[in-house]
Amino acid sequence: MSKNLQNSSEEAENATPLQVPIKRRSFFMYAGATAAATTLLLSGCNDDDDEPTNPAAGTVSLGSGDVGVLNYAYALEQLEAAFYAQVISNAGFNTAFPDAAERAALTAIAKHEAIHRDFFKAAIPATSAIPALTPKWGNLNFGNRTQVLDTAKTFEDLGVAAYNGAGALIQDPTYLLLAGKIVSVEARHAAFIRDLINNGTFADSTAVDANGLDKAMTVAQVLAAAQPFITETIDGANVGK
């Protein structure tokens, strides 16, 4: 225990984000500000000796512990960012989306997703971060409004369900809060895209269940849905463990 604390304060100098002692007021409220609780949680925060280990060719391991969850989010944000970047840079963008307000909104979403992607890249220790993934769009026609919006809806709903399902896996309250800051923006995207497709479907029964709960999906469920869009094989078996 004391060794963990000592290591943590030493490592603060190195600014390794997951191992810096958390000084936020909210953390102490969360931990009850007792030494025992703080030590316990810091021990939990250190549970990330999880560098991807010699993955098979073409396989990307997300790792374990909090780093695994951050890499999981990073993978999904990479996918979303790449998708919207392709949407707005496509030669047929103006034709597919003749409404300037729609183009402006999709461009704003593209920026949000790029910011999320690069946020995770900055948050994950460089030695543990997954590499840039290669998206795979198949027969998706980026000049077709319906296809673009349907794919956007798939990605946004999937992203929300992924964060909803993975939040409880996060040990470090700072990163749980950051996931919360991001997931509500994703849910706003999802509602907006849905309304572009069919006005008023922002939170229909395919998105929100009979208890009023937005969907939550496990890592395995999300990766199964995302894998067809990613060239590399993603291994998320140890995320959050």
Binding site: S26, K111, L176, K181, R188
Partner: protein
């Protein structure tokens, strides 16, 4: 749970539900489903029995009661609008249908949260009276005098409450050191975010300068010293990986030109939390 007791509790804790007749059956059906019971079961044993005053920090129950008050506030706003007999909603039926859908979700949230609290052996906090004009039952000048006669003003109040709800859930989530409750709260939180985006889009469709996500470019709908607490700190330009390490957005390869990445894109890309005091301040605006 005894059905008669349940009905009494529903009537007692949520008088506004009487303003809408249909959802009672749906609410009862929901109780038999997975969510509420599992949420109650997930409450740490013994924590529920502790009076809040005995702890110096927030308990999960404090958080659930806070959510319950926010949900009741929103549900009452929508119920009262839906119960109006004078023409109020725009001709396009999608507007009313969206408000009805959101009211239904808030009712489901009230049932879920109330059942979690009562099933864990505690009592849900008493519901206050609501006054959506902001006069506190005629004791001070109105903030939204025409909330139930002017649909655009109604949407402004709805936006304030939905955005505040998203922020309130977010502000509590890191205190909920229980995996099942964290997930449930995140699921409630995301539904609120969908609502907030919908309300914002409805306002945009009616000509307001507003985006589905809070943006520095939104036209302000708040009054300084009163309703501005709803967006206090929402347009944060920085995010912190720890106390000492701000995310260097200016150095990141975000890949889009222009300075508004830092001044507009970043604050849009992250929704910020409201703490308990801020959330109570929002509740107080429309309660007496």
């Amino acid at each position: 749970m005894n059905i008669l007791k349940l009905l009494a509790e529903l009537a007692e804790i949520n008088p506004n539900q009487l303003e809408q007749s249909a959802p009672r059956r749906e609410a009862l059906e929901n109780l038999s489903r997975f969510g509420a019971k599992a949420l109650a079961a997930a409450l740490p044993f013994g924590l529920a029995a502790l009076p809040a005053q005995a702890r110096t920090t927030l308990t999960i129950l404090d958080s659930l009661n806070l959510f319950l008050q926010i949900e009741r506030l929103q549900e009452a706003l929508y119920s009262r609008a839906l119960a109006l007999t004078v023409p109020f909603f725009p001709a396009d039926p999608t507007f009313r249908a969206s408000v009805a859908a959101m009211q239904r979700h808030q009712q489901q949230h009230i049932v879920l949260l109330t059942d979690a609290i009562t099933s864990s052996g505690s009592t849900a906090i008493a519901a206050p009276n609501f006054d959506f004009t902001g006069t506190k039952n005629g004791t001070q000048p109105a903030l939204f005098a025409n909330v139930f006669t002017d649909f655009d003003q109604f949407l402004q109040v709805a936006q304030l409450l939905e955005d505040a709800a998203v922020r309130a859930y977010k502000g509590q989530v890191e205190f909920l050191n229980n995996a099942f409750i964290v997930q449930t709260v995140l699921q409630l939180h995301a539904t609120e975010a969908r609502h907030a985006a919908r309300i914002r889009l409805m306002r945009k469709q009616r000509g307001a300068t507003v985006k589905p996500w809070p943006s520095p470019t939104d036209a302000s709908i708040t009054v300084a010293g009163k309703t501005d607490v709803v967006y206090e700190g929402e347009d944060a330009l920085k995010q912190y990986l720890s106390n000492t390490r701000p995310v260097p957005f200016q150095l990141l390869p975000i890949g889009y030109p222009g300075t508004n990445i830092l001044t507009q894109g970043v604050p849009e890309a992250f929704d910020e939390p409201l703490n308990t005091d801020q959330t109570q301040a929002v509740l107080a605006l429309f309660s007496y």
